[in-house]
Symmetry: C2
DNA sequence: TAGGACATGTAATGCGTTACATGATTAT
DNA sequence: ATAATCATGTAACGCATTACATGTCCTA
């Protein structure tokens, strides 16, 4: 029985206090989404698999007439999570960024259009910074105050500061491209 | 006929001077790989599709007895690339980073192990910085000197500087975590 | 009383990877 | 002679998304 990183997202979220599949879904939307997306539909089958493997203990706990199944992490589940966290494996970071991809090919555009594209990239990260500030970091800090878990908040800080860095970088590039009416031989700093 | 971003990677690489599928494969490995991976196997069917759509013109050009098919971008292909580059669409950046994911759940670890994990993340980005410096940026600068195309080099600079930023960030976090944990003293073992 | 959040799924599809497969040319 | 690189694929599989589907509870 091999678990994927997505399995550990589900397992880990239950460890952080989520009880139902729906809790996991909401928690993911406010946190790991930004560095590990899983779609809502795969959460429920994953919960079943983890229960079959003995890493979760589930029971039905309907809210009124509404079906609902809640889970607890078993000692075996906690051990499996820790084992995965400590495993020395490739930590490969994969990025799929249409913005950067288009930037790469931007020589096919007029300079003004290339500049507009960099501006769009900057604005995208500005929106992300706001999103982190207003939603994600406050939620993560709530977790820290409630349970003493500090790393969700640290990961959120990474997300915000990364996007702040991108905003800065795009701003610099905009100035570089804007002032490059004259052909320069110097590649920059 | 809808083209995916991966289609435009192939189309764009031919626009940047690649001639065969194999050329595209090598170019991707040294450039877009880091923000848009496509696996070698999907390049060849993609070339056929683009040719069927009239965006490429291919012809067989064997090297000795070795089969080889080379492609030229048609005017329709150039137009399609420009149109995609200018399209106002979501530039969604997706990141799949096991390192960050594990950091998010690192409260389940002993402080010393969490610190070791941040160190591993830093070392990963240090390797990436070297990779960019030694392979990717020189290649991209070769393109710039050869053809005047500057954006591949700008994208490479983004990759290096981003990883430099991550190295910095992880270093800061290591100091923050190191000074907080009075418990372990094996930092210099 | 209607809309949104809660709660959980199924079915079909597509995308991409892994593993496998072939064979020629060039450098050592 | 052998390894590495050039060059191009096929087949099977699995993961993940999209679209669809169902029904309850709460709030304005």
């Amino acid at each position: 029985m091999k678990l994927s990183p997505s399995s550990y997202v589900v397992l880990g979220m239950l460890g952080l206090g989520a009880r139902s599949g729906y809790d996991v879904k909401r928690a993911v939307e406010l946190s790991t989404r930004f560095f590990w997306t899983i779609s809502p539909v795969q959460i429920y089958p994953e919960l079943r698999r983890l229960e079959d493997a003995g890493l979760l203990q589930g029971r039905d706990e309907p809210r009124g007439g509404r079906a609902r199944r809640v889970y607890d992490v078993t000692p075996a589940g906690e051990a499996a999570l820790r084992e995965w966290l400590m495993a020395a494996e490739e930590l490969a970071m994969e990025v799929r960024d249409k913005g950067l991809l288009k930037l790469f090919f931007a020589d096919a555009l007029e300079p003004a259009d290339a500049l507009a594209h960099v501006r769009a990239m900057r604005e995208r990260s500005e929106r992300m910074v706001r999103r982190f500030r207003e939603e994600i970091e406050p939620t993560a800090e709530g977790v820290a105050e409630g349970s003493g878990r500090r790393f969700p908040s640290i990961a959120a800080r990474f997300g915000r500061e990364l996007n702040e860095w991108i905003v800065q970088w795009c701003g610099d590039l905009e100035r570089e491209l804007g002032s490059a009416s004259v052909v320069d031989g110097d590649g920059g700093r």
